[in-house]
Amino acid sequence: YYNTTNRADDITVAYLSSDHEAAFMVAQDQDMYKKAGLNVKSTQMSSGSSIVSAVASGDVDIGYVGITPALQGISNGVPIKIVAAVNLVGSGIVVESDSNITSIPDLKGKKVATPGVSSIQEVLLLYELQKYNMTAADLDILSVNIFIIPETLASGKADAYIAYEPFVTLSTYRDTGRVLMYSDEILPNHPCCVIIARQDFIDQHPQDLQKFLDIHKNSTDYVNAHLNETAYLINDVMTTNPSLEEMALPHIIFVSQLDEDFQASVMNFLEIEQELGYIKANLTPEQIFDTQFSGG
Amino acid sequence: MSFQLKNVSKTFKNQDKELKVVKDINLTVDDGEFLCLLGPSGSGKTTILRMMAGLDFPTNGEITENGGPVSGPSPGRGFVFQQYSLFPWRNVLDNVAFGLEVKGMETQERYENARNYIKMVGLTEFENSYPHELSGGMKQRVAIARALANDPQALLMDEPFAALDVQTRHNLQEELVKIWQEELQTIIFVTHNVDEAVYLADRVVVLSRLPGEIINTFRVEIERVRDRASTEFVDLKKEITDVLGY
């Protein structure tokens, strides 16, 4: 028996225009929501922080965002919870094809582009540097908008960059760079994208959210089983390149469950961000996760 | 409409210096009077006219119309500016009809009205022309038509006929006297032409050099229509010209 008042008329979902959200694209493409009786409206947005803002403002119910804006939102008091995982790893450090940089210490004094202060990639880079007793001061770190990061390398304006897929593979695909190190090697199984939902939406529409997240699990499984089809689908949804996606997708680990490993890796990542001063608040897993839907 | 100027002075402040332009003017203009203002270039005639119109205000003294203070411009006091003042974005007809338009008169009626005055100044053929297509004298005539079309109780006219040939000027002088005799407006008329002043005015007021003071007043008691060849006309002209030359 369904309590109709508990049903959301529309579920609005905001997501980044990125192959990390492949599971969502698959679900939409295969009409999974409609078949489950959910009326899902989707909105692309250009940054994780604006997705958090949109979820906070109530205009959007569910968001696919990077772990960093999610944690920053929660620590700033935005009433959201992480309700599911989306993917792990999928970033990498790239250098010029003929570069003589072969290890992290070689980066000393070099220009390295990152997608911005406190981005997952910058955090990973700084974390990696620590292993060699280096700090940000040892390199020349540039904040560059993600979409021009590969160009800064290709045009010789940076010696290396750290970015997420497909911008890692892009340079190898275009033969303008090679991967120095994938992020899995920096911090194994580090978290990347997650699904957030507003607290009052969680409270008022648990059944709908459950359905939504069940579909997320199914579509994630589909992606893992059909990487090639997914690559072509992504190409249709976004203006990208199927062969590039075919090369890039294997570097991403698609997951859906908030299992203990995932929670631990988030808490670990949170700690690193706290050490770097990017997150001030002390957060408990209860404040961050709502595991009733995808508890794994 | 009657005007009274009591001890009116005007000082302009500019940059570092002050310039007293008008000094202690005392003048009463009766209702229905035709007054001409004569005086050297830069003696404050325009300034006085502007203050009477409410476009500028005395530094000292007081100006009243019909006993009440002049606090700003009003359609009761029509003004013909010394410089070109036609709206460049309106043709002749719409320039002349402006006053009637803002009064809310119907298009048909106000065009009819305006056309009468355009005819009077001899520009019927140019009613669709824009100001930049007119000669200097033609612009001045449109401005006169524009002021008259508005049918004000007082007319303040600043050298309105200065750019006109003798023929046109005489025609318009006649027309103006005719209108004035019909409507009995109060007219204050600035001119440098003594002949014109004597032809038009009930009274001619002569200003001194800067700062402008009234140095002489002449009553013109010659009966209208005035004959320029009459001795009294010629004599008065000579008398005034002598005063102007000091």
């Binding site: 604006s50 803002s53 949109a54 205009d59 979409f147 203006t239 | 006091r77 402006f98 006053g99 508005n150």
Partner: protein, 240 residues
């Protein structure tokens, strides 16, 4: 005639990208690659939808900007008190980057058309406003005085004298305003749009598909040109 310079640019561009190795194609594609991208975007229909949706957003944002800025500019140019009251706050708000307004846009207008219109409005409104204010302030006094002596009320003087006198400046403001409004399409379409030329620029650059980005840039340019033509014609018509 007007095409001489564009053609020269086209030729240089073609030579540099095709025959010399000076500019690698992943940075700036050849004219031919742009043509291909154009054909591609035409055939799959996205260019048309993108253009139409951007046009709608820009037109609405610009219209709102004009409807706000022209009356407000007249008010501020005319009443010293309005000028004194608003000068500071307008001065402060004016240079704030549209992107910085995005969180506010989301709060006030949600994700979608409203926010996009708001961002474009922000880009257009100030050029129109400043030009209108300055145009009104510089209206020749003799016209205003003429109107008053003919009995025009303040409102009538504003409508029938000050506005036509300031119109050339207002049109300059509209020309600049539509340009800046178009400039803001990228920022506007970063919030909750999945179409539009700004979105196309954003996504295709992010995929290093510079050819498509250039197509979108050129279409925006052509839209701007069309508005320019419109305003120049209007201007010529009223140019007394």
């Amino acid at each position: 005639m007007a095409l001489i310079i564009p053609i020269i640019i086209l030729i240089i561009w073609g030579i540099l990208t095709t025959y010399t190795g000076l500019i690698p194609s992943y940075l700036i594609p050849s004219p031919y690659a742009v043509l291909q991208a154009f054909e591609n975007l035409i055939t799959n229909g996205t260019l048309l939808t993108d253009t139409v949706s951007t046009l709608i957003r820009v037109f609405l944002g610009f219209m709102v900007a004009a409807l706000v800025a022209i009356p407000l500019g007249i008010l501020i140019g005319w009443f010293k008190i309005a000028d004194d009251l608003s000068g500071f706050i307008i001065g402060i708000l004016r240079p704030i980057p549209p992107i910085a307004w995005i969180p506010f846009a989301i709060l006030w207008f949600g994700v979608g058309l409203g926010s996009a219109i708001f961002i474009i409005f922000l880009g257009s409104v100030f050029p129109i406003l400043i030009n209108t204010i300055d145009g009104v302030k510089r209206t020749d006094k003799v016209y205003i005085e003429s109107a008053y002596t003919m009995g025009a009320s303040q409102l009538q003087t504003l409508r029938k004298v000050v506005v036509p006198a300031a119109l050339p400046n207002i049109i300059t403001g509209l020309k600049v305003g539509i340009g800046i409004g178009l400039m803001c399409t990228v920022a506007a379409e970063m919030i909750g749009s999945d179409n539009g030329l700004g979105y196309l620029i954003f996504t295709s650059t992010s995929m290093l598909d510079t050819a498509s980005a250039i197509v979108a840039m050129l279409v925006i340019g052509v839209i701007g040109l069309a508005f320019d033509y419109l305003f120049t014609r209007t201007e010529r018509k009223i140019n007394w």
